[in-house]
């Protein structure tokens, strides 16, 4: 081992020399002389390290961090509760129920149409009384669905009215134009075979109560 190799391969902390390094020191007086203060420094740093290892952060730091941990952990628990597995299941179930209820209502409303002879326009004529009935019913009440839900809503046949203090959900759906015609909503006879966008108001029990035509473009 030469001098360069000795100094380039010093062990961590300058302690615990290998046999080869110790042998070099025995042979090389220059390196031995230069090594002496290094050894002393290494020992001094070791003592300093031991002395300083007694130094700890003040206890208030741990107290503060523990409080932060508790609030963080509490937040995580609340957040995990808020995003638990049943949330999306509940949302999808509600949506599916709403769609099913709407389909049932629309199919029931559309059933008389085939019984009547005529063109596509026929359902509109047959549906007119239904709508009138609904309007008449709502006229008979002190406040109609439009006052609660907004303009353009038509109450579905036989569906109970949504009260002013009653909760409801709005679902935007794409339905055949013919189905809207069957409920008395004018979407244009030429669009009877196309799909239109409608808002359906669902009562707190999940049943469809009223419907409103959003557009007749067939897309959201």
């Amino acid at each position: 081992m030469n001098c360069l190799e000795f100094w380039n391969n010093l062990p961590l902390g300058g302690r615990d020399l290998t046999e080869e390094q110790a042998g070099h020191l025995a042979e090389c007086g220059t390196c031995a002389a230069q090594w002496r203060p290094h050894r002393s420094l290494a020992a001094g740093l070791q003592s300093m390290g031991q002395e300083w290892r007694k130094l700890q952060a003040p206890p208030r730091l741990e107290a503060g961090l523990t409080a932060a941990f508790r609030s963080q952990a509490g937040f995580q628990v609340r957040r995990s509760m808020g995003h638990s597995w049943w949330t999306p299941v509940f949302a999808w179930t509600t949506t599916a129920a709403a769609m099913l209820a709407l389909a049932v209502v629309l199919i029931r409303g559309y059933q008389p149409a085939p019984a009547r002879p005529g063109t596509v326009a026929a359902p509109r004529h047959t549906a007119q009384p239904l709508m009138q009935t609904a309007v008449a019913a709502s006229d008979a009440d002190s406040d109609d669905d439009a006052s609660v839900l907004g303009d353009g809503f038509i109450r579905l046949p036989n569906a109970p009215r949504i009260g002013p203090n009653e909760d409801y959900n709005l679902v935007r759906v794409e339905v055949p134009g013919s189905a809207m015609i069957a409920m008395g909503v004018s979407v244009g006879e030429d669009r009877a075979t196309e799909t239109v966008v409608a808002d359906v108001a669902l009562g707190p029990d999940g049943t469809a109560r009223a419907v409103r035509l959003v557009s007749d473009g067939g897309t959201f």
Partner: protein, 204 residues
């Protein structure tokens, strides 16, 4: 608690991520001292060291903390955060007073001291002298001395903390020791700059 103390840092981290307060307490007690001392040595201020230690462990509490066990130990990761905070603190406060400015490329100079710089001093005096000398080192040398010599991290772990090759850690370490010896020798034998004195003409 005894059960927790036998667990690795990674196991404790996993537990604390799941809201286990005891795991956090054990991990904090195991690691905070070294982080606090490192911040203290580097900043020279107990208040800054306290702030930095707090920030390091708050970063650990965050779910999105970037610790990756594939890249190094948790201890190294904590030192890495502490180092970044120290640098920010030093930039803000400009409290870093380098002994001298030089580069890693400079070859280690021949040592001017042959005597034992700590000989004849009491333990307390030696440690105090060393502390001052370490504190006076330029930042890049001070951090390797603190990490390798005082906190006893190995070269590889120190290289990860500093984000540099092991060879750079070795060369900085060598240079740092040379500077420390020089500083200690100067403190021990304060030389009067007699040579710099020049006769002046009396104006009276």
């Amino acid at each position: 608690m005894a059960h927790y103390s036998s667990q690795t840092d990674d196991e404790l981290l996993f537990r604390l991520r799941n809201g286990d307060e005891q795991a956090f307490a054990v991990l904090y007690r195991r690691r905070h001292g070294a982080i606090y001392r490192f911040a203290m040595h580097m900043s020279g201020s107990p208040a800054a060291a306290e702030d930095i230690t707090q920030e390091v462990f708050l970063a650990l509490l965050r779910q999105e903390c970037g610790y990756d066990r594939e890249r190094g130990t948790l201890s190294g990761y904590l030192f890495g955060i502490a180092r970044k905070l120290v640098l920010r603190n030093l930039e803000r406060g400009r409290s870093d007073v380098p002994l001298e400015t030089d580069t890693d490329e400079m070859a280690p100079r021949e040592l001017a001291v042959i005597d034992d710089p700590l000989a004849g001093l009491t333990r307390h005096e030696a440690i105090e002298g060393l502390r001052r000398a370490v504190q006076a080192l330029p930042r890049r040398y001070r951090e390797v001395v603190v990490l390798c010599d005082l906190e006893e991290l190995d070269y590889a772990e120190t290289a990860v903390v500093l984000g540099c090759p092991i060879g750079t850690v070795r060369s900085r370490m060598h240079r740092a020791r040379a500077l420390l010896l020089e500083k200690l020798n100067q403190d021990r034998k304060p030389r009067l700059a007699v040579d710099a004195w020049k006769p002046m003409r009396c104006a009276i």
